[in-house]
């Protein structure tokens, strides 16, 4: 750790991991409800467990991004953070707001929660991923703006590297596109159209800038490869991302009432979206092969390479699978979508956060790298979680193919619930893979407490 103020990243990383655990526990509840339909009913209906699962995911990824920025920006800008106090205050505000929201979901019926929190003044709730009550949404905006102010001021007073600029662009984009969550017209088609300006332009747009910048930063540190080379790669990757991903939004405009030309625009541009993910994989392996030093943190290198591979598989391959309009006509809104959503979120955004945490946490705790023993635990957790996610994806894909066949393709299509009963075996296997994932996560947490001989920073 080169700058004292980088230390504010630590609580962000710890909170991220804590919320990650909560996310996975609720994932297991959902998986069980898939096969034992009335599990926890009516105390925690599926839709409530689902919003806890997905909102915890988004919030912990945001904690991770913010922690990453607080760690990375001072080192890139070569100056202390503009205001560490503000960063710490925002941490508590965000954590308390997040916790209250989750408690609200779990203890108050959703319609009552909506009423209590001013949804009648400005209706924004009840749309997928944007379930948060109005005060939470406003809180997110306030925290995001104050956070952006803090890191932008830091960059302005210091060195302006390409990594810092790309990261800033990504984070500003994240905040700007979130503003569309406040737009909820009565016309459902217009509502859906702009809903994707949050969801798609996040994960297949500005978040990829954050991903690229975080990966580039860690790669510079662990490989010692020349900054010029790494930053050139970064620009190429984010260029490819945005020229394919922005118009690629069209792959969500096939069947929601929007004009049919989107079937062409969406299919063609989104079919190119795997290219930047492929470039990211090549980038990561290339830089590690050309490394100029042997960094003692082997686990961080593993996570960085894993991010490249898994993001390409989950977003690139599993995205491409169902992105062409004639295919999507049959797969739209099935378990194929869920399979892709899981591996893409894990491979890209979970793994890049764990890469950053893996690299930064030992330094924040005053050593260059964890002991070998602790790293072995961490690498076990890498393989357990990653392989478990591969199996979750494969089982859901199998369930999805059968679902499409039974319900949409065969000569005598069966009703939704009849089809679901027939593929229950795959949902059971997904749940067991989920248990393996949880074990991996537990090993991950344990790795933070494993002692052993450590090198000083």
């Amino acid at each position: 750790m080169q700058y004292k103020s980088q230390a504010v990243a630590k609580p962000y990383f710890i909170a991220a991991i804590g919320l990650f655990i909560g996310q996975i526990l609720f994932g297991l509840v959902l998986g069980l409800q898939y096969v034992l339909g009335d599990f926890l009913f009516p105390a925690i209906p599926f839709n409530v467990a689902r919003m806890v699962h997905t909102n915890l995911l988004i919030v912990w990824l945001l904690f991770g991004f913010m922690g990453a920025a607080y760690y990375l920006i001072p080192e890139e800008a070569e100056t202390e953070l503009f205001s560490p106090k503000l960063a710490l205050a925002l941490f508590w505000i965000f954590l308390v707001a997040g916790a209250l929201t989750i408690v609200g979901y779990l203890t108050v019926p959703y319609a009552t929660l909506a009423q209590l929190t001013g949804n009648d003044l400005l209706a924004t709730m009840g749309r997928e991923f944007l379930e948060q009550p109005l005060p939470t949404k406003l809180g997110i905006v306030v925290v995001a703006l104050a956070f952006l102010f803090n890191i932008t001021m830091t960059v302005l007073k210091g060195r302006k590297t390409s990594i810092a600029l790309v990261l800033l662009l990504g984070l500003w984009g994240l905040a700007v596109f979130f503003l569309f969550s406040f737009y909820n017209p009565a016309n459902i088609v217009v509502d859906k159209f702009f809903w994707w300006w949050v969801v798609h332009l996040w994960v297949e747009g500005v978040w990829e800038l954050i991903l690229g910048a975080m990966l580039a930063f860690v790669l510079i540190k662990v490989t010692g490869v020349d900054r010029e080379v790494i930053e050139k790669w970064l620009y190429v990757i984010v260029t490819l991302t945005l020229i394919t991903g922005i118009i690629g939004t069209g792959h969500h405009y096939f069947w929601i009432g929007t004009p049919e030309y989107w079937q062409w625009w969406g299919s063609i541009f989104s079919a190119l979206e795997p290219i930047p993910f492929f470039a990211m994989t090549v980038f990561a392996f290339n830089m590690v092969n050309r490394r100029r030093r042997e960094h003692p943190n082997k686990a961080a290198v593993l996570w960085a390479l894993g991010t490249g591979v898994m993001a390409f598989l989950g977003a690139g391959i599993w995205g491409f699978l169902h992105t062409l309009a004639p295919v999507n006509y049959y797969t739209h809104g099935t378990q194929i979508t869920a399979a892709h959503g899981h591996m893409a979120f894990y491979g890209a955004y979970v793994m890049v956060n764990l890469t950053m945490i893996s690299y930064a946490m030992p330094l924040l705790r005053g050593r260059a790298a964890n002991s070998n023993k602790a790293q072995v635990f961490e690498m076990w957790s890498f393989w357990l979680m990653t392989v478990a996610m591969v199996f979750i994806t494969l089982f859901l894909t199998a369930a999805g193919i059968l679902q499409v066949w039974l319900q949409r393709v065969s000569d005598s299509p069966v009703p939704f619930m009849v089809g679901q009963d027939q593929v229950a075996l795959f949902y059971w296997m997904r749940e067991w893979a989920g248990v393996a994932f949880l074990i991996g996560l537990i090993v991950y947490v344990i790795s933070f407490f494993v002692k052993g001989e450590e090198k000083a920073a």
């Binding site: 409800q33 898939y34 034992l36 339909g37 009335d38 009913f41 009516p42 209906p45 599926f46 839709n47 409530v48 689902r50 919003m51 959703y110 319609a111 909506a114 949804n119 209706a123 709730m125 009840g126 997928e128 379930e131 390409s162 909820n184 009565a186 016309n187 459902i188 088609v189 159209f193 010029e228 080379v229 050139k232 790669w233 620009y235 190429v236 984010v238 260029t239 945005l242 020229i243 922005i246 118009i247 096939f254 069947w255 929601i256 009432g257 929007t258 004009p259 049919e260 625009w265 049959y330 739209h332 809104g333 099935t334 378990q335 979508t337 869920a338 949409r408 299509p413 009703p415 939704f416």
Partner: protein
Amino acid sequence: MSGAFTKSMARNIFYGGTTFFFLLFLALSFDTMKQLPKRDMRQNITPSIIAGKHIWETRDCIGCHTLMGEGAYFAPELANVVERLGSKEAVKAFIQSRPVDGIPGRRSMPQFNLTDKELDDLANFLEHVNTINDANWPPNIQG
């Protein structure tokens, strides 16, 4: 990447390319907004349908169901449910008859205790969604 291709060239392509494709996206979106009235049946949106959308949102129906294929995959597609069950009355009867404690062992839908007016609004909303021109999706009545 060869030495002739410098970082500043990469940066310029990034800014130029992004700006170009973002503007193209805005142009397409603008055209879409102009064309939507021909497809989204907005002329039929009544206060009841608007109220129905509000019920739809405040019960988080999307947390279990899909609507035009978007949402959760736990329960059936609802954009065509009025057609599938045969009538708005059938849809309302289904929603009304959900047991409070669920159905043992089965995926269960909550009992929302909607008033008659709320049920009407919700059914009108679902009927409206059914009329939107969504390029013939879903492939068949099962959704």
